[in-house]
């Protein structure tokens, strides 16, 4: 008399016994190998047959986990400063989101810039062996209802500034390559002083060149940018303004979805503050970005930003 499966938990051996007891027994569902009929019992152990769903190809090594804010802050000396409280969270910015509505022509589409981290103060800059006064930010950029955007890259432009009689005045960026990118030696330069944020040696306009500093994004995954700009702690009446922009690339052309403005200022007394006090987010391209990108695209050897006008 054939045994029939009993309700409840069963072992594979029990299941195999049931399967082999009668050809009219229902097929097993424990794997392709069993269904192939190549399973066997050896020494009381059930060995399944080859599983057709498994390949012999060794899977590629999983990509390492992406760098997180903690890794960056440790490397840049920011963590030590936060621990010592020489860098403090910016109230109203740290952990807050700023949203631009109406992206890519979609009335309800939103680009949300979240300042996952926003600190101000002093930290020891390892690369120079000197303390720096400024800000530290980690910005996530998420799209919602903006349509399909497979490749979203962040382009950041900035200018150095100072204040004269209380008014913001663009300042000399200081070194030859920055002056060239800023149009500093051209009185007719548009948005003079504004430049694509990058190293002297950079030839691409995109901020993220290593996952320590952020990630590219899409309509499904947020982009990320980490930055800790500043000046020496001996500097006074200096600052930098930034426009961090999410640009959607397709077919080599970039459409600016939205930007957020942020920065810092160190006053005459040496006190650093977030500047403007709260970031502003808005859809579309800002003039400083398009002018700086046009300048960038005109320089030999650069990968063009190719922003759509």
């Amino acid at each position: 008399m054939p045994r029939v499966p009993t309700p409840g938990k069963q072992t594979l051996v029990q299941a195999y016994d049931v399967a082999t007891a009668s050809q009219s027994a229902p097929p097993l569902t424990g794997g392709a190998g069993l269904a192939d009929g190549d399973a066997k019992i050896d020494g009381g152990t059930l060995f399944s047959g080859p599983d057709a769903t498994l390949g012999t190809e060794v899977p590629s090594v999983a990509p390492p986990d992406k760098t997180n804010d903690a890794d960056y802050e440790k490397t840049m000396g920011i963590k030590a400063a936060i621990d010592k409280k020489t860098m403090l969270p910016v109230v109203g910015v740290n952990g807050q989101s700023f949203t631009a509505t109406g992206c890519a022509g979609k009335k309800d589409g939103k680009v949300t810039f979240t300042f996952d981290r926003a600190f101000v103060g002093d930290y020891d800059y390892p690369a120079a062996g000197k303390p720096v006064r400024g800000v530290h930010v980690s910005i996530s950029v998420a799209l919602s209802g903006c349509g399909e955007h497979k490749e979203v890259k962040l382009i950041q432009v900035l200018r150095n500034f100072t204040k004269k009689e209380g008014k913001v005045v663009t300042a000399d960026p200081g070194y030859a390559k920055r002056r060239e990118r800023s149009g500093w030696n051209d009185d007719k330069a548009k948005s003079k002083g504004w430049r694509i944020d990058g190293l002297d040696s950079d030839t691409t306009p995109f901020y993220v060149t290593d996952d320590l500093y952020g990630d590219h994004g899409s309509d499904k995954a947020p982009a990320k940018l980490r930055d800790s700009p500043g000046d020496w702690t001996t500097d006074k009446n200096v600052g930098k303004e930034f426009r961090t922009c999410a640009v959607s690339y397709a077919g080599g052309n970039g459409t600016v979805l939205a930007c957020v403005d942020w920065g810092y200022y160190i006053d005459d007394a040496g006190a650093a503050t977030f500047y403007p006090a709260k970031p502003t987010a808005y859809v579309g391209a800002v003039q400083e970005l398009t002018d700086a990108a046009e300048r960038w695209d005109g320089m030999a050897g650069n990968t063009k930003a190719n922003l759509v006008k």
Partner: protein, 135 residues
């Protein structure tokens, strides 16, 4: 006997931690000499063989950055190292670097001047100079 112990103590003390010995406070001329010595030591190291892990001990000075002893190479990827106008042909190329070690130089100016060695992925090495502005 006491003298022998004293001499032994001095010798052992001097050898205890040469890699972390800081340069003494110096006047301008000896600073220049010290800087010249550092550059000469690095050029000599490059001409023979550079071992990034031990080069700080070799030159007897603690480096600002040594990517072979814990500081990640990626940590330099957004450090804007401006070419030193006095050494325009000797610059850092991170794209080809396997290890980077550099020291602050005693050169006047707000922005630190640095000199270092880069060991490339193909095993070759060279001296580089640069200026590090604020981030």
């Amino acid at each position: 006997m006491k003298i022998a112990r004293l001499v032994l103590g001095i010798v052992l003390g001097a050898c205890a931690s040469p890699s972390h010995k800081e340069p003494p406070v110096m006047n301008q001329s000896s600073e220049t000499t010290s800087d010249d010595q550092l550059v000469a030591q690095l050029r000599k190291a490059v001409a023979t063989s550079v071992i990034p892990e031990t080069i700080e001990a070799t030159v007897g000075r603690k480096a600002l950055i040594n990517t072979s002893t814990g500081y990640p190479l990626a940590g330099l990827r957004r450090v804007n190292m401006v070419p030193d106008p006095y050494h325009p042909g000797e610059t850092l190329s991170l794209a080809t670097a396997r290890a980077v070690v550099y020291w602050a130089r005693s050169v006047p100016g707000d922005d630190p001047h640095v000199v270092g060695v880069q060991v490339r992925t193909d095993g070759t090495a060279s001296v580089f100079f640069g200026i590090v502005p604020p981030p």
